[in-house]
Structures are given as structure tokens and as C-alpha cells.
């Protein structure tokens, strides 16, 4: 059961073009997910460890609205994101006044509560079997893109099944990246960085810091929910095990690798982490499948430890802006 990590590629596409397309899609999804983390951790100094919970909320609300309430897929997306933001605001009002480590624990607990609800409120969420009937609209859209656009450049075949998702994911990732970069370079972003540096100093300068932290968490939730929806299109199944705290932690690995305040670093970090996680499948280490899968995560863990210890500003971060270890 564990070998079939939901965020891993199905083996049917081993070595095929679609394998690499799939790696690219997941890297894009991780980029989106981690952009939210970066806004929180890197730019606001709030240690959100519940990002996958927002992804779960986004995916579930979208999937259930489409499959059980017969909403339009396109309408369900913004509603799902809006719902995640509302949850984030409630969570933030409750927990953002706590000190950093308590906030971190509270947010993991939040994401686990979301997952337990998904698992156990069967009447609403279908429990462990998950939700599947939400993907028709996307499939037909995806098929249209393949036939009408990608065929022209020889990429319309079944092996390029996920190509439209790849394109959409990365366009979205890049747009979000630019948007967040724009936001954090604004006076608003300056206040966030001040809060990260020294919340008391920011308060002494007349900034209502709770409000800014709530906005930061809300945006992270929106971005996370969107990542959850993209993931729902990739799997395509919305089930509780897709939203383990593990995935938030992998987001942190991406973040540390890229550098806490480097926007492009997030994208590069996501690509590297996905490559490590997935490309190792192509190499025959003479190990069992379970061992190979374990080894991937050992590498992720070691990368986190070594980077934090020896290069806390990340591979692409600026020394002066380094926030770890202050």
C-alpha cells in the first residue's frame, strides 16, 4: 500500500514519455503548494505545517461539489478555493497568536483533522474510497487541447495524456510565482518581511500584524487549495491518503532546497525534489521496490538535514536574507 504513494507515478508509464510528463506535472503541483509555504515561512515567518490540509480542502470541496452536487467544474474551483481561505482565516484567528512552535504543531493537527474528517465522515466524503466523478469536464477539455493544439506539434497521442495538465500546471505555477513575487516586492510585502524579522518592531511602527499574518495564511491556503485541485486532476482520485502530513514536509524540503526567500528557487527546488523522488525509479540499484522507495525519502531527509546545517539560506537564497538560524 505504501509503495503506491499517491504523489508517485503509476508504473504503467514507466520509461514512457508520459512518465516524464508526470514528473513535470508533480513538480509543478509542488511548486504551487510550496509557493504558499514560502509566503508564510520565508516572507512572514509563520511556520505553517498544515499546507496539505488546505490542498485537501480544495480538492474535496471541488470534487464533492462536482460529483455530488452537480456543480460546474469551473464554478466549483473558485468556491473550493474560497472555502479554504475561510478555513484559514478561522484557523489563523485561533492559532496565530500562539508562539511559533505551538503554531507549527497546531497546523499539523489541523491538517490531520481534515484528513480524519475525509476518512471518517463517509456520508459526506465517501471515506477511504474517495471521490472520482468530478473529472469529466477536465478530461474533455484536456482531450480538446490535445487534439486541437498539441496534435499540431506531434504531442497529441495517449502517451501525452497529461500534457495539457502539465501546461496548465506550469502556466499557473509561473503566474502565481510572478504574482506572489509582485506582492512581496510591494509595500505590503515589506510589512510581511518586517513581521518575519521582528513582529514587535512592526507593531511599534503601527502595523496591525495579526491582519497581515492572516492575509499571508489566507493566500497560502488559496494557493494550497489550488495545488490540491491540480493534484485531484492528476491522480484522478480524491482520497484521504493523498493528503498526509508527509507532503507538507516534502514541501519544506523543496523550500529549503530553493532558499526560503527565492521565488525561482521554489520552482527549481520542486523540479529537483521530484527528480530525486521519481527518477530513482529508473535506476536499478538491485533493491526491492520498498527499499528503493525508502531510499528516496532517506535522501530527502538527508538533504533537509545537510542543507539546514550547512547552507541554511538554500541553494538559491541570499545570505543576507537568510532567515534560518537568526
Amino acid at each position: 500500500m505504501h509503495e503506491l504513494l499517491p504523489l508517485a507515478i503509476s508504473f504503467d508509464f514507466f520509461n514512457g514519455a508520459d512518465f516524464w510528463v508526470g514528473v513535470g506535472v508533480l513538480a509543478g503541483i509542488y511548486t504551487v503548494l510550496t509557493l504558499g509555504l514560502q509566503l508564510n515561512v520565508g516572507f512572514t515567518g509563520i511556520q505553517n505545517f498544515g499546507q496539505i490540509g488546505f490542498a485537501a480542502i480544495g480538492a474535496y470541496v471541488m470534487a464533492l461539489l462536482v460529483s455530488d452536487a452537480d456543480w460546474s467544474f469551473w464554478l466549483a474551483i473558485p468556491v473550493a478555493i474560497g472555502f479554504a481561505v475561510c478555513v484559514a482565516v478561522v484557523l489563523g484567528v485561533i492559532t496565530l497568536r500562539l508562539r511559533a512552535d505551538f503554531f507549527a504543531i497546531a497546523t499539523i493537527a489541523f491538517s490531520e483533522i481534515v484528513r480524519y474528517i475525509a476518512q471518517n465522515a463517509r456520508g459526506l466524503t465517501h471515506g477511504n474510497q474517495g471521490v472520482q466523478d468530478y473529472v469529466a469536464t477536465w478530461r474533455s477539455f484536456s482531450r480538446d487541447v490535445r487534439h486541437d493544439v498539441l496534435d499540431g506539434i506531434g504531442m497529441g497521442g495517449v502517451e501525452f495524456n497529461q500534457m495539457p495538465l502539465l501546461i496548465v500546471t506550469w502556466i499557473a505555477a509561473l503566474l502565481l510565482l510572478l504574482l506572489l513575487r509582485h506582492l512581496t516586492k510591494s509595500p505590503w510585502g515589506r510589512v510581511l518581511r518586517a513581521i518575519r524579522e521582528d513582529e514587535d518592531a512592526a507593531r511599534a511602527m503601527g502595523k496591525n500584524t495579526l491582519r497581515f499574518k492572516l492575509q499571508s495564511l489566507g493566500i497560502a491556503a488559496a494557493v494550497g487549495a489550488f495545488a490540491g485541485i491540480l493534484l485531484a486532476l492528476q491522480t484522478p482520485n480524491v482520497a484521504p491518503d493523498n493528503y498526509l502530513p508527509l507532503y507538507t514536509f516534502i514541501g519544506y524540503a523543496v523550500l529549503i532546497l530553493g532558499g526560503l526567500t527565492s521565488w525561482w528557487g521554489v520552482a527549481v527546488g520542486a523540479l529537483i525534489v521530484q527528480f530525486v523522488l521519481e527518477a530513482t525509479r529508473l535506476i536499478d540499484f538491485g533493491l526491492t521496490e520498498s527499499q528503493t522507495s525508502s531510499m528516496r525519502f532517506i535522501i530527502v531527509g538527508l538533504v533537509i538535514i545537510l542543507l539546514v546545517a550547512f547552507r541554511p539560506q538554500g541553494v538559491f537564497g541570499k545570505r543576507e536574507e537568510m532567515v534560518l538560524g537568526d
Binding site: Q47, I105, Q119, R296, F297, I305, A309
Partner: protein, 336 residues
Amino acid sequence: MSEVVATAGAPVADVDEDRRLRDRPLLITAAVLVAVSLALVLGEGLHAWGQASVNGLVSGSYVALGAVGLTLVYGTLKLTNFAHGDMLTFGAYAALLGKVTLGLPFVVAVAFGMLVSAVLGLLFELGMWRPMRRKGAGAFQLMLMSLGLAFVLRYGIQFVAGTENKNYGIDTTAVVTILDLRLARVELVVMIVGVVLILATAIILARTTLGRQMRALSDNSSLAETTGIDTGRIVSVTWLFAAGVAGLAGVLAAMAANSFTPEFGFRLLLSLFAAVILGGIGNAYGALVGGLLIGLVQEWSTLLVDANWKIAIGFSVLIIMLIVRPQGIFGTAGRV
């Protein structure tokens, strides 16, 4: 002059005010427990309540033992250790290794598991945490490293032992009936060993010089140093103790569940944190009591809602506690 003299009585009044405030949470906790118990007895019957309470003590005992190390490490080093849950896993697998691979008798294998866990805890301290503290690493930095360490531990175990469910091959069908309460014999053993160890831990912490030094360090490490405690040595001992007890808690949890995977410790971690926060972070006795409470609350909840929810109930207690009283039942810290 006269104004100054007028303040003379102030500190005494403050103390009384203060003490009332501190006593209240304990009273409230006790009152809530009694009230909930009464309500459950009246609503669900004495037997059902008793059965749930016994079950709660079973899981509460290993949660408490897991939590005590987590809280001591936090108190002493201000380290929020995300790898602590995986130390439970490590202990469980080390005991399995002792029993199956080395062919040791089970009791010896458990002691072996505890010992190996303790040594591993010390090795991490010497090889990783101490050098990082010397470098002046911040709390968040250490927290992230513990996250990385959790990965390495969990998947290291998985690498060696695989993902299949394991068990110790103990007879789980034997059932003991005491006072009309049914309990698997293994569970009874877990409960007895757990409660005995909780008491032993409490006694070690309360009565031995070593335990007192550990608590002193957890209370205020710089004062401990000026009081004449060799803090470097006590930190090492704290790691040995925390990791060893965590290893044992892991074995007990694995016995109670009769089936475990490399992930089970991590899944317990939030319950451990709930116990720690319930008791007041850094407070060793608090963690022991908090652990038992978490076990009880989770099992009691099964009388009212589906058993699948009990874990989520534990997390909800965690969040509610953080909202209502983040310093915990026994907490004295002003800064939260």
C-alpha cells in the same frame, strides 16, 4: 517615603492571587473529568464507562511514556522534536530484531530495544544536536532538522524491515476478565507495564538526583548551570532517558496494536504532542498525566461517536487546549 512603605504588603497579596490562578486549572480539570465520567456513567452505563476507561489507560500509558521524553527534550533544549515519534518506531523494531533475528527471549528483546534506542538518542545528541547548538542554530532550524531526521529514521527502518505489518507473535486471543471488564491479556500487560513505568519515571524524576537535575534543566537551563549542574552531562542523560523510554513506549504501543509498520510512531506523534501541551510543555509530570488524559478522552469518545474518530478527538483536544490554556494544566510559563 510613605508611598514607598505602603507597598510593603504587595508581594504577599500577589502570591495569593497567583496561587489561586494556578490551582484553578487543576481543579477545573478534575471537575471536568468527574463530570464527564458521571455523564458517561449515567448515559452509557457503568460498565461501558469502565471498559472505555480501562482501554483508555492502555493507550494512555504508552502515550504518556512517549510524551515524557518529548517534553523533557523540549524543556531542556527548546527542541520541538518531530523525530520523536519515529524513536517509538525504532524501539519497536529494535525489539523485534532482538526477538526474531537474535532469538532473544521477549523480555530481554524489549530491554535490548530500549537500550538501542537510548544509545541512538545519545548519538544524535553528540553527532547532530550538540554541534548545531554550538553553531548557535535557532529553534526553527533545529525543528526542520528534526523533520529531516524523522524522514531518515522512518525510511531507514522501512529500508531494512520493509513495509509489511509486523507483530511480536504474541498470543492476542487470551482474554482476561476483571470486574466484568474484558481485556486482552496483552493489553493488560501493556497497561500494567505502562503504569508501573509511569510511576517509576515519576519517582526517578522526583526522588533521584539525576531526575531532579533533568527537571531543573528543563525548568531553566542557565540557572541549572549556575547552580552547579554539569549541564552537558545531564543533557546527554536526558537524551538517553528520553529515547530509551520512547523505545519502550514504542514496544508497548506495538504490543497493544499487535501490528505495526514503519509509520506507526509518526502517526502517534501528534497524540504525544497533545499530551505534552495538555500537561504544559517542558513539564515532565504534566506529560505523564497529559498522556493518560489523552488516552482516556480518546476512548471515552468512542462511547459517543464512531471509534474511527478517536484520533481526531485527540487532536481536537490539542487545539482546544492551545486556544483555552496554551501553557497547559500544570504550566507556569508566562510566555506562550
